[in-house]
Amino acid sequence: MERAMFRRLFLVAFLALAGTQMARAEAPTVTAVLTTSETEEGRPVQLQIKVTGDADAVPPNDIAVDGLEIRYTGQSQLVEGRNFHFSYSFIYSYTILPLKAGTFTIPPQTVRTNGGEMHTPALTLNVAPNDGAATRSRRGRNSSAGGAIDERKLVFAELIVPKTSAYVGEIVPVEIRLGFNTRVRARLAEGPNLTGQGFTTQRMPEPKQSMETIEGVTYQIVTFKTAIAAARSGKFEVGPVEAKALVQVPRSAGSGGSRSPFDLFGMNDPFSDPFFNDPFAGIPEQRQIEIKSQPATLDVKPLPPNAPASFAGAVGIFNLTTEVKPKTAQVGDPFTVTATLSGRGNFDRVTAPGLADDRGWHTYPPSANFKADDDVGLSGTKTFEMVLTPNENKTAVPPLVWSYFDPLTESYVTLKSDKLPVVVEGWAAPAPGAAVASTSATPPPAARPTPATQAEDILYQLTDPPHWVQGFTPLFLRPEFWAAQAVPLLALIGFFGWKSRERRLANREGQKLAAWEQETAELQKRLRRADEPPDQYFAGALRLVQLKTALVRRMEPNSVDAEATASAFQLDDERRERVRELFRRSDEARYSGRQNGHSPVNEQTRGEVLELIENLS
């Protein structure tokens, strides 16, 4: 509550202070300014008359200056505060359209205020001539005060041909420069295209961009480099360069008409304001602008007559180097000669050098490879690889010869490489048998003299009965080849079967031996016990002896007799007799039918039997 009361008191005090300040305002003042004192014919400027301290001031209705069309366009208010000192100003605006060039003085204007008549200062306006003024709107407002963009300075194209004369086929470098005013947004839509007839144009690599200020206007410069070569002599016009650019420019008001239809008499019609002519003014509009440069002239001279035989149309400056590999070869084997032509000129007309003397050599078509040193291909290195085969003994590859036309000295130049030393081996007169073509069914005699002309003849006919073949099909594609593989395959399968059976049999024998060993161990345990009747005891003892013998001899236990045991263990006579006794007693117990009784075998007999059996080893 107290705070609200305080606010009200503060507001009242502020208003009272403001009112006091207003009440003790100074006497009205009048000034006048031009938005710019420099303009050109047809380009409007604004005159502003500012009256401070008098809301009822009456500005001049009509300002008449010869050569200037001055129209009142409206008023605005301005409140300024400084250290709690507030002042009201009224700005009366006039548009001045220069109708002609010259220096104009706007005389002091009278403004009626409460304090009486006041006068503006005299103003000077310099108007420069402008050829394009007639095409401009006479009433439009500027897109930006003091910053109107001249459409002629939005873009430009420039063709630079450094030479005015050249020879047929000579490469002439050409530079194309496209400039875009940096105050507008622009991009290249098409081109540039270099028009003209009678010359060929090299490929145009990617352009380079830079910034440049020309006559106070900053441009983005796009530079294309290429080269041209005249195909025939005569005077040619190169260019013009043509391109299309898309440019976004501020809309120029009133471009469609001169004034509002409601302002037929040039009255102060509010509808004549440019806003109503183009409500989208200020929004950039995209235009396609065609750019065209000035053409250039090129005087093309024909090449002089009497060109060397090795001249194939190359114009420029070139160097020739050569190399041969290998240095040694057999007759008929190839040498590879590498000829390198480097320099500057029309490389598309650079052909392979030729041998100064190709006698005794076979030459094959060369391969070519060009490596440019610049983007356009004006300078570079062209490498030719030629295959030569010697037909006879040679000590060097003959020099390579090649000619071009030098436009600087205006003469033909013939390049000749050095001889390339090589060694040709295997040169000998053809074998006698290889020298003569037989005209009979028998080969010619080896000792037959060989005329020199017959060294190039073919060998004799073959008259032996031919070995007829089925066809050209390689062996590995013939069915019989794959059928033959069945033999080793079957052999391999047989080998596998045989080895598998052998292994299986070996396993069966092992199992049998293991069973015998187990039975042996069990019988030994049983015989140590004293609870068996004689027939069972001796039968067990006999089986044990047979098993032991079978394990040694790898034979069936049932077929073992006393002699086999004695032989297997190489027993002496005494032990042999004891074994026989064991076999006999066992047979008696099993077959005699006598009652052996049920009493166990006595201790002594059991010990003797066990001792005999355990010593069988």
Binding site: Y364, T439, E456, L462, D464, P466, W468, F472, L492, F495
Partner: protein
């Protein structure tokens, strides 16, 4: 039963008769063509040799002699073609090798470049490599089987197994290189005069290479009357299909 036996007997007799006729007939024709050649009647000799070729009586000697006959009449393209055929059947035939080089020199025929394997593995032919591969493979298989069943596996036998496997793989690689190289089944010889390989299938298309008769090419594809071929100097172009003949029949 009797009738069936008679038919079988008749068929066997016919087969034997036909076989004897096929094997017996080429010899007189070959001898006659040789006689024509010796008498200097080269066109007649060519006709005799060609008739044998058409009847699928092929041999390296026949193609070699036919090449000689073509050489005598100045047809270097067909001469080289038949020398190549002779060498395709018998790669080591020295007479065909010598005459082929001679005719190539005279005709300035162009040759396809050999690949690295063809150049360095040429001490055996593709067929010899096939036999080597088969022998090495089966030896390796038996060695492996022996090692599988052996109770002990000596290092020497394992080394031998690895060596045999390497020989098999190397031989297969060599066969593959030969079959995809210069002298594969697409190898052909230019037999026509003034053949120009062109950029497109048109007589007025740009020229890629002028091919002297006897030049070696590889036919990659055929479109109508034109064949697309790999040319010497690593070039490719279109040639009239009837201007070259494949080496392998």
């Amino acid at each position: 039963m009797h009738t069936r036996f008679s038919i079988l007997l008749l068929t066997a007799i016919l087969c034997l008769t036909n076989a004897s006729r096929v094997t017996a007939q080429p010899e007189p024709a070959f001898i006659k063509a040789n006689a024509d050649f010796a008498a200097g009647h080269f066109p007649e000799a060519i006709k005799g040799y060609e008739s044998l070729v058409k009847e699928h009586h092929w041999s390296a000697s026949l193609f070699y002699n036919l090449g000689n006959a073509y050489f005598r009449v100045g047809d270097f393209g067909h001469a080289i073609l038949n020398y190549e055929r002779a060498l395709a059947l018998q790669p080591a035939q020295p007479e065909a090798q010598a005459n082929l080089r001679l005719v190539r020199d005279q005709s300035r025929a162009l040759e396809l470049a050999q690949s690295w394997p063809e150049e360095h593995l040429a001490f055996l032919t593709a067929n010899q490599y096939a036999i080597l591969a088969a022998v090495a493979f089966w030896c390796a298989a038996f060695t492996l089987a022996g090692l599988v069943f052996a109770q002990r596996r000596p290092v020497v036998w394992i080394f031998i197994l690895v060596l045999l496997c390497a020989i098999t793989a190397g031989s297969v690689f060599a066969i593959s290189a030969f079959e995809s190289g210069r002298a594969d089944r697409d190898q052909a010889i230019v037999t026509a005069q003034k053949v120009q390989a062109r950029l497109a299938t048109a007589e007025n298309a740009g020229t890629v290479l002028v091919l002297p008769p006897g030049s070696e090419i590889k036919i990659l594809s055929t479109r109508g009357q034109w064949s697309y071929a790999a040319l010497p100097n690593d070039l490719r172009g279109w040639i009239p299909a009837d201007s070259a003949e494949r080496v392998r029949l």
